[in-house]
Each structure stands twice: as structure tokens, then as C-alpha cells.
């Protein structure tokens, strides 16, 4: 839920990166964190297991600048991708303003993508949201790997509603900011619509 504070003239929005385990959600956030000026970001908080798998969520606040005198702050979250952390995923979707689905382009992860996308729709519904009416972007990650499925096939399987699609290699930053920009733009456009 967007929080607009007229006293401090701030707009705060929540964006959640969703997707199957090891698809690169945390890597997206890490790249954004590493590439952003210190004054525009807070700390990157990672609630992870000892093997660096996301346990609860990763979080980073990002200040993008000012729109008509209002500071725009985006709170970026990732969910844990592993199937058995579903309770955590539901919690993190509460109050969401926009979602990025990070798909793993590797052939052997196709089933995991489909399962995770289904899980996203289901969890959004339990929180009272409809994916069709929510700012949403699809990212096809790991395009640099040899065993990837062609993009048009992935789009055919995973695109839900004509949402923007970006090819990405989150480890080197390819497509990371394009994805963020697209979802942030949709969130602000929603605000404009009222």
C-alpha cells in the first residue's frame, strides 16, 4: 500500500521480487545496491541461511528522486524462492504495490518457473490482490547461460497479461535497472490514475 506523507512530502511504495529458488532475485537487489549512490539507498538487509539462501526476505530502500516536490522511496523486497518457505512469501506480499517475476531461463528450471508463477497468483489472491490489476514486470534472467530456452518460448509460457518483459543477466546488471524502472513507472502511473 503506497504511503503518502504530506508532512514530510514523501511517497513510499513496496516492490516485491518473486520467482523460483536460485533464479536471481537477491542478485537483482545486490546489483541495484552496488550500483546506487550511497545517498540514494539504505542498507541491504538480507535474512539468509548460512548458505546464503534467502530465509525470510532481502530488503533495501531506494530513493529515486523527487516528483512534483515529493520524494519517491521504493522499498524493494525479495521473497525466499524455495517451495517450503511459502508462509514467508505470503507475508512479504502484504501491502505490495508492484511485483517483478524473475524467471530462470534454464531449460531444467521451466517447471519451477511455472510452479512459482502459479504460487504468486495464488498468494496474491489470498492477500486480496489480482495479478491482472497489479503493476507487474516479467524478467527473463540468466540469458548468458548455455542451456536457456528461447525468449519467445518463455514469454509464451510465462507472460500473463502483456506485461513488459526484459531479458537479464543479473550478475552483470544487464536488464536489472530496465526491470526496476518498468515496474516503478507502473506503480507511479497507478498513483496518477487514482
Amino acid at each position: 500500500m503506497t504511503f503518502i506523507n504530506y508532512a514530510s512530502r514523501e511517497i513510499n511504495c513496496k516492490i516485491v521480487y518473486y520467482g523460483p529458488g536460485l533464479c536471481g532475485k537477491t542478485t537483482n537487489l545486490q546489483y541495484i545496491y552496488d550500483s546506487t549512490a550511497p545517498q540514494a539507498k539504505g542498507k541491504l538487509i538480507s535474512l539468509a541461511t548460512e548458505t546464503d539462501r534467502t530465509l525470510f526476505f532481502d530488503f533495501m530502500p531506494l530513493e529515486l528522486g523527487t516528483v512534483r516536490g515529493f520524494k519517491t522511496r521504493f522499498h524493494l523486497y525479495t521473497v525466499p524462492g524455495q517451495v517450503y518457505y511459502d508462509a514467508s512469501r505470503k507475508l512479504i506480499l502484504k501491502g505490495v504495490d508492484g511485483v517483478v517475476f524473475v524467471a530462470d531461463s534454464q531449460e531444467e528450471r521451466m517447471d519451477a518457473n511455472i510452479e512459482s508463477l502459479y504460487n504468486l497468483e495464488e498468494n496474491l489472491q489470498t492477500q486480496g490482490y489480482d495479478l491482472n490489476n497489479l503493476p507487474y514486470v516479467l524478467q527473463l534472467n540468466k540469458r548468458d547461460l548455455p542451456n536457456v530456452i528461447p525468449s519467445d518460448e518463455l514469454v509464451g509460457e510465462l507472460q500473463k497479461k502483456g506485461e513488459p518483459v526484459f531479458e537479464a543477466v543479473a550478475t552483470d546488471g544487464t536488464g536489472v535497472f530496465d526491470t526496476l524502472k518498468a515496474v516503478a513507472k507502473q506503480v507511479l502511473t497507478e498513483l496518477r490514475k487514482g
Binding site: A7, G42, K43, F56, D130, N133, K181
Partner: protein
């Protein structure tokens, strides 16, 4: 569709700040935060030192979200408060509807004092927030012309 925005007007913000300032003194607390249950910091009063208040708010909300789910698993509807006791500093979190009142205190105060004072303050905070939520829909409609003036160029300029 995403939920309607929560709009806090300046006079409501100032009233919340006044309640938090009084609570901070009454609880003999180091700092008192008001945080949205989605993790957005609303305001605070007290000594934050070099604390990262944005991360703190997000983690407080995550903490309450997790314990609330645990409550449901054991047949409780919700845990209305959560307490973390440290060696020097402790944290008491009181759930007020969609928001959390978070009190950070040390050995100069006690849990019972914090609980007692927070309970009274909670009613005042809840009343202000209820008013803000009720007005949010109307405010959004009347202020929509302001947001409608946001152009694609304005949005694009954020990423230039």
C-alpha cells in the same frame, strides 16, 4: 489492484509526533517508533543515534508478521504485543490495527512501565490513524488532480 494509498496529512502527522514525544518521556524510553505493518516508517521520537530507521521499521514489521502467523498456527488470533529482551536495550512492540508502536528502552525503564504507558498511548495513536485511514479515500480523490499532473517526463526524470 493495489490497495488505496494511505495518506497522512500534516496535522495528523504532528498529532502523532506529539503523542510519541509524550510516550517517550512517560516510558523513559530511548526512542519510540510508529511503523506501518507493511514496514514503512511513519514517525519516531527519541534518540536514534546512528540507527538505520528504515531497516529497523522493515524488520519490526517482518518480526510482527512472522509472530502473528505463529500465533495463528497455535490457535491464537494475534499476539497483540511482542517483547525482545536484550542485555542492555530491549524492544516492546504493540500492534495497533495496521500499525506498530515500537518502544526501545534500557535499564532506566521497565517492561511493566512501558506496557502500561503504551496501552494508553495506543488508543490515541489508533484514533489518529483511524481518522487518517477514513480520510485517505476522500483525500486521495480530492488530491488526485495533484497526482494526475505527474507526467511521463516527471517519472522518466527519476531514472535519468
Amino acid at each position: 489492484m493495489a490497495e488505496a494509498p494511505f495518506i497522512l496529512q500534516e496535522h495528523q502527522f504532528q498529532r502523532l509526533k506529539t503523542v510519541l514525544a509524550r510516550l517517550c518521556v512517560e516510558c523513559a524510553a530511548r526512542v519510540v517508533f510508529l511503523v506501518d505493518r507493511d514496514g514503512q516508517p511513519i514517525t519516531y521520537h527519541g534518540d536514534i543515534g546512528d540507527m538505520d530507521t528504515t531497516s529497523f521499521s522493515s524488520l519490526a514489521a517482518g518480526n510482527v508478521a512472522a509472530t502473528s502467523s505463529m500465533a495463528k498456527l497455535i490457535g491464537e488470533d494475534v499476539f497483540p504485543s511482542v517483547f525482545h529482551e536484550g542485555e542492555r536495550e530491549s524492544i516492546f512492540i504493540s500492534v495497533i490495527g495496521r500499525s506498530l508502536l515500537v518502544v526501545v528502552f534500557d535499564e532506566r525503564s521497565t517492561l511493566s512501565l512501558v506496557k502500561l504507558r503504551t496501552k494508553r498511548g495506543s488508543y490515541e495513536v489508533a484514533a489518529i490513524l483511524d481518522e487518517a485511514i477514513a480520510e485517505s479515500a476522500n483525500n486521495h480523490a480530492s488530491n488526485n488532480s495533484f497526482f494526475a499532473e505527474i507526467t511521463d517526463d516527471d517519472i522518466d526524470s527519476l531514472f535519468s
